[in-house]
Structures are given as structure tokens and as C-alpha cells.
Subunit: 434 residues, 2 copies
């Protein structure tokens, strides 16, 4: 691992180039984010002045302290000069927020930047980066301005804007990194870091393209990674690629090849943002999703749909042994399904649910529950939800309904209970997580 | 069309067999539902007595008025006798809520019921039906006990329990019908009815299996239907079929054959409950989703993903003519995408959005908007949302984020604005609706 990543993501003292009092500028938001989190942060701007009560230096040379990390949010053309300045000050880490490089066709200039970082021995994130967030160290060098809580998902994104949306949606992270155009630090470097990071339980990637030179190392690093890796690849179709940023040398432009690489690397490929983070949420909360599913439903139709979806997603389901069948016979009406899905029937009340789950809790032949709940006349949704929170194995719940099931969602929103509003979505997530 | 369906779904006077004061019984809920809606409803129960302040008759012969529809919620074995009793009273419509027929293996008994209905010339819905709801006539013969509002979707379901969940989720309908085991009235009869029903704009079907005898008529009726039909087929895999109810003679058990039949019949097949009702929602609100998409995004990455998804779902997108490109050049920064998706860039403020949409509103070369919004630093989400409600073509919006975009959801929840939280889901729905 490049030792640089650790020193970058855990930097103590920062300098923000382009610090300004113009609230619409990244240089303002980043300076404020670092300041508000209680970090030691210095601002540099050729105009000098004051921002948020802090003196702004005209030159990084004026700062008396040794700084760990420079965040550069100035026009593209100024970046090389700044890199030389910080090299002189022995600042080893730089995040280049500035855009106007490869993504707008200035490839030569971008290459120059990469070479300069190597020559000066600076760990460079970017350019065209959205910054990074390390919630456990209370560091936010991005221009995302909301609160981030502590979690177990680390997200490495090639799109800053998607990053902003995801952070706002998920709220809790172990890390967020926007690699930008990756002239120096790239996916592999951060995957290596998060593989060792004890707060990270799962790593998510949003990938538009990998440089050809990066391919082999990416494969090696992913294979060795100690955490599950989930990836979403954008730009798979010709029109998607047109919409994407051009890259000088991508691994390949053919559809399907990335999927092959992901498979080889042991990466779980997802097809949507939602799916990626639903699967990540399972890995974040469950060590190993083992063995077979036990499906319990109060709606026969949902049982049929879920059987289809589990089968399509290759999720094994527990065979109902006659021993267990006989036990269930004692607490269920004669016309229950005698099959897994266990249809406890639409007129099931809370007492019947308790009886069924008491029996199932003693069973060892399955690894997790899949529960399908619709608001039938006898359903006591609050009680049902509380019952589910007491089960000792992971539970996936599909709640089909509106107001009548909404109350259950809040109750179920805790560890090991995964709530969905559509059975297909739920089964796809289980299929990826297993 | 069997004239019976119209007289059943628009009945004025009802009799409920099995009316009771036991609140957990369907006979209670249905009687209460009809009574609360101000319908003329009589209760019959061999025990007599009073329910909700109404005299309960011991025999249907005691009722002095001509009744249009009987709802039967008594044990299975009593149903044939009751059918003979109502035939004597010239009651032409019956809903058999009672279960214990084909679905538990009593096929002979079920056949007998079908033959009896034909002999007595009774339009029979069921058995094992959840009832029907006609919101425009304020009729609820089901045991769903919530409020239903007026809408344009009619839903014909082979699963009562899924019906209950869907009603609770969607809230507004033009009709809901639970066909149950279909010994008499079947899918085709109701499709014919809703084809003519002026309140119905789109018909949704949840199908587990069709009787072989029903196949040809189903095909004919669907081909002639004046409304779009959307179907979800359950029991496509062997394990799904095992979980489903057994039927004496389904069209076929082979996977894929239903899809062929649906295609031939002009039915739009969906793969999940959520997708079916999202697509229905588009048909409910937009007459014809015509021509090409114009994609506007403030997040480049989302633009790439959406290009992939639109392409995968065969949604054509507008080619950006140089005329339009030049107009947009005047209001966008030099590094905008020059491509559709139109990337207005992450630093887009409200003024830039207004400028872009002013230009696009004058364009004729596309039929609808696809808008991708993530909460960037400069995004004024409320204003953006209000701007979208002013556009004169249908708008599909994907909001990627949490608290910061939630406020926009409420604003956008009106006609012609379709809001999604995942771009893949959105593009699949557009693909089905186009």
C-alpha cells in the first residue's frame, strides 16, 4: 500500500488554497467544513483578508506550522505552481478540487500534473475531485455541507455529484473518497487502505472507467481485499459512454468485459445505486449471510412471487422437513401451505405469528428469515414488527401496503432487519449478498 | 360482454350471508363496509340477532326488497344451498368469499359450484374471492377496511392478500376486483367491463394462472381492449408454481409461454408489483408518452448511468441539433456536456436552470423530460422542484439524496411529474410506458 493514503485520509493540519468568503465557492465550503469540525486549518488566497474570522495567508510560506494536507480549489492553471510551493513546505498530500483537466479535453495538462506529483513525491487525489470524508476522524475536505454519521461503508466514487447524493441519502459512512481524474492516487490505493481499515466493513465503488495501466493492480488488490467489494459500472452502453468523460486509455470499451473483470476480482456487481447500497447495508450489519432462507408470509400471492424471485436470484430455501411440518400443523389451520414459503394465511392474528416463530426459532436448518407482510384485517402490524426484532437470525421483511404498514418501518429500522417495499428488489439484494 | 359484470359491479342493494358481530370475521367487516358507505344492505345469519344496530335475518326469504347482489361469507359447504336460495329470490349476482374449494384440493366441489352458478344463471365472483371495490359507486364488498379514493387504475387480482396491500399502498382506484378461483366470472369478463368503463384509464392484472379454456377468449378480449393492460405473472419458476395454488388446467406450465401470450395480446408485462403500478401511474396521467426524451442533469455521473439505462430500455433520446446547442452555449459554462444528457454542471444555480428550461420549452424535438437532481452546494431544491411543475410536457424526475431532496418530493407529487429515487427504476418504467 502507498503509505500516502493513510497519511492523507488521517491528516491533522490542513491548508485550503482558494479559501474565500464567497459562499458559492468550494473554497469557502471546504474551509468552513474543516473549521467547523475543529480541525487546524489555514487558508491561502493571493488576495489575503479574512474568512469566517480567520486570517487568510497570501502565501503558504507564511504559515508557521507543518501542514499534512493541502486542499487546492483554485483555477486549473495555478495548480502546478501550488504543487511546487507545497513541496517546498514538505506537504506530502494534496487534494486537487480544481477542474479543467482531462474531463474538458486538456489531457496533456493532466498528464503534466500526474508527472509533477510523482516528481515532487506528493500523494495527489484528483484533479476534479470532490474531496474526501473521514467521519471517524471528523474530517470533511469535500464541499458536501451536511452531517455525516459513523458507519461501516466506504464509498470510492468516480463521480463527485453522485457522491454528494449518496452521502445525503445514506448519512452514515466509514469513508467517502472522490477519486476524480486519478492522475496519481487511484481506486487500488483506496481499496488497499479500506481493506485494512477496521471501521470499514464493506467497500462500494462507482466506476466509469479504469485506466488500462491500472487494470492488473486493480485485479490483484481486489482479490487480496479483506472486505466485500461491491461495484456499479456506468457507461456500459455506447450512449452511456458518450455521456461519460473521455479517458485516454480505458481497459476496454466493450460491454461485458468489466463484468468479467469484476467476477475475476471477486467483486459483487450491482446494476443500480439503490441495489449497491442495499447490499452494502446487509454486509455492514451481517457478518455472513449463511445457508438457506425460511419464508413466512400472510399473503399467498406474495409467497408465489417471492418463490419466483428467490429462485431467479439463486437463493436456496430451506426444505420443510416433516418433523417441522408436524409441529407447524399444531398451530396453523389445516389449509396452511405445508411448504416453504410458510403461508400462515390472511386471517393470521398475532398469537398465530408468535406460535409459528417460536417453533421456527428452534429450527437449525435455515440461516435467515424472509418475511412477507400485508395489512390483512387481523394483522396487528406494530406487534408483528416488534416480534420480528426479537428473532435471532437476520430478517428480510417486505411490507406491502401504505399507511397501514408505514408504522412498522420505523420499528424495523434497526440492526439485522432489512425492510423493503417490493419483493423483487428484496430478493435481488439477498441474491447479491449471499 | 356478460351483462352480469356491470350489474354486479354497480349493484344497489346487497345481502351479506354470514353477517356477524364477531369483528375478526369477513362477514362483519363486509357488512360494516357496505353499511358505512350508506348502501342498502341486509344481513343474513341462521342465528339471527343484531349487528351494528341492524336486524339480521335468519333467512333471505324474509327480506322484503329485491336485492341485486349477495355476498357469501359462510362455510364452504353451505354455499350451494345459499345459491339456490338467492336464485329463488331472483338475485342475479353473487360474490363467494368462502374458501375451502380448489385451493385446498376440493376440485370436484369447486366444479359443482361452477355448474350450479351456470344452471341458476347467477353471475358468480369467486369462490375464495376478496370481493370487489367500486370507488365511484362507493361500493366496498371486500374486507379491506381503509379509505379508497377515486382514480383511473382498475386492478384485477388473482390474490386477495396482494390486493389488500396494493389498495392500501395506492389509495386511489377506478376499480378493484378479486377474481378468486374464477368458477364463473373470469379475467376476460372484467377486462371487457373496464375496457368500456369511462373512469378507467389503465387495467392492471395480477395473474397466477389462466384456465386453458379461458386462453383464447382472454387473448381476443385483450386485443380488443381500449385501455392499456399491464400484467404481473406469478409462479413462473418451478418453486413459484409449487408455492402457488394448484389449478386443474392452466394454459401451460412452461416458463416464457405466458410472456408470449401477453405479447400477442398487446399486454405490457412487468416483473414486479412496484413496476406495474409505476407504469400504471404514467398511463393514468399521460394520454400518450410520445417521441423522445430530453435529459437534464446537474450530476454528470447520473447522466452516464441514465444514458445506459435509457438505452437498455430502448427509450429514444433527442439528438442535440447544433441550433439548440448554440442557444444553450449562451447560458451554460463552456464545459457543459454539449450532448443529451444536458449536463448543466454541479455548480448550477436556479438562474441557470431557468435559462436552460426556457430554451428547452421552445424546442419541439422531444416529447418528455427526464431530470436528474442531486443536492449540490448551489442547488435550491424547492425552487427547482417548483420550476419542474411549470413545464408543459411530462417530467420524470430522479432525486438522488436524503433530507436535502425530500422536500422536493412533496412539491413534485402532482400530475405529470413522476418522481423516483433510483435512475434504473425510472428508466425501466419509462421503457414500459413508451
Amino acid at each position: 500500500m502507498k503509505s500516502g493514503v493513510a497519511s492523507l485520509l488521517n491528516a491533522k493540519r490542513f491548508v485550503v488554497f482558494g479559501a474565500t468568503d464567497k459562499e458559492e465557492k468550494p473554497g469557502y465550503v471546504i474551509f468552513r467544513n474543516l473549521l467547523n469540525a475543529g480541525k487546524e486549518v489555514f487558508g491561502v488566497n493571493i488576495r489575503g483578508g479574512n474568512v469566517l474570522g480567520q486570517r487568510i495567508f497570501k502565501d503558504v510560506g507564511e504559515i508557521a506550522y507543518q501542514v499534512d494536507c493541502a486542499v487546492i480549489a483554485t483555477p486549473a492553471k495555478t495548480v502546478p505552481v501550488i504543487l511546487r510551493q507545497i513541496a517546498k513546505r514538505k506537504i506530502k498530500n494534496a487534494i486537487v478540487i480544481s477542474s479543467g483537466f482531462g474531463e474538458v479535453g486538456n489531457k496533456k495538462f493532466e498528464e503534466h500534473l500526474g508527472n509533477l506529483a510523482k516528481e515532487l513525491e506528493i500523494n495527489l487525489m484528483g484533479p476534479n475531485s470532490f474531496g474526501f470524508i473521514n467521519p471517524y476522524q471528523k474530517i470533511n475536505t469535500s464541499f458536501y455541507s451536511g452531517k455525516v454519521s459513523l458507519g461501516g461503508i466506504s464509498f470510492i466514487s468516480q463521480s463527485g455529484a453522485i457522491g454528494a447524493g449518496i452521502i445525503d441519502k445514506l448519512k452514515s459512512f466509514s469513508g467517502f473518497v472522490s477519486v476524480g481524474n486519478s492522475v496519481d492516487l487511484e481506486f487500488s490505493d483506496f481499496i488497499e487502505y479500506y481493506s485494512e481499515d477496521e471501521k470499514t466493513k464493506v467497500i462500494c465503488l462507482y466506476i466509469e472507467s479504469l485506466e488500462e495501466s491500472e487494470g492488473k493492480r486493480f485485479l490483484d488488490v481486489c482479490k487480496k481485499c479483506k472486505k466485500p467489494i461491491i461495484a456499479l459500472k456506468a457507461g456500459k452502453t455506447p450512449s452511456g459512454k458518450r455521456a461519460g468523460r473521455s479517458h485516454t486509455a480505458v481497459i476496454t470499451s466493450e460491454e461485458g468485459v468489466y463484468s468479467g473483470v469484476f467476477k475475476q476480482a471477486g467483486i459483487i456487481e450491482c446494476s443500480s445505486i439503490k441495489e449497491m447500497f442495499s447490499v452494502a447495508n446487509v454486509f455492514e450489519n451481517v457478518e455472513n449471510l449463511e445457508s438457506k432462507a425460511c419464508v413466512v408470509t400472510n399473503a399467498g400471492g406474495l409467497g408465489v412471487l417471492v418463490s419466483d424471485y428467490l429462485s431467479e436470484n439463486e437463493v436456496p430455501i430451506m426444505k420443510l422437513e416433516s418433523r417441522l411440518e408436524k409441529r407447524l400443523d399444531k398451530v396453523l389451520p389445516y389449509n396452511w401451505s405445508h411448504n416453504n414459503p410458510i403461508d400462515i394465511l390472511g386471517d393470521a392474528d398475532f398469537a398465530r405469528e408468535v406460535d409459528v416463530f417460536k417453533i421456527l426459532e428452534k429450527e437449525k436448518s435455515f440461516g435467515f428469515y424472509v418475511v412477507l407482510l400485508t395489512p390483512q384485517h387481523m394483522t396487528e402490524i406494530k406487534k408483528s414488527a416488534k416480534l420480528l426484532t426479537m428473532l435471532r437470525r437476520p430478517v428480510f421483511v417486505c411490507l406491502l401496503g401504505g399507511d397501514k404498514v408505514d408504522v412498522a418501518k420505523n420499528i424495523l429500522d434497526r440492526e439485522n432487519i432489512f425492510v423493503f417495499d417490493d419483493p423483487k428488489e428484496m430478493c435481488e439484494v439477498i441474491g447479491k449478498a449471499i
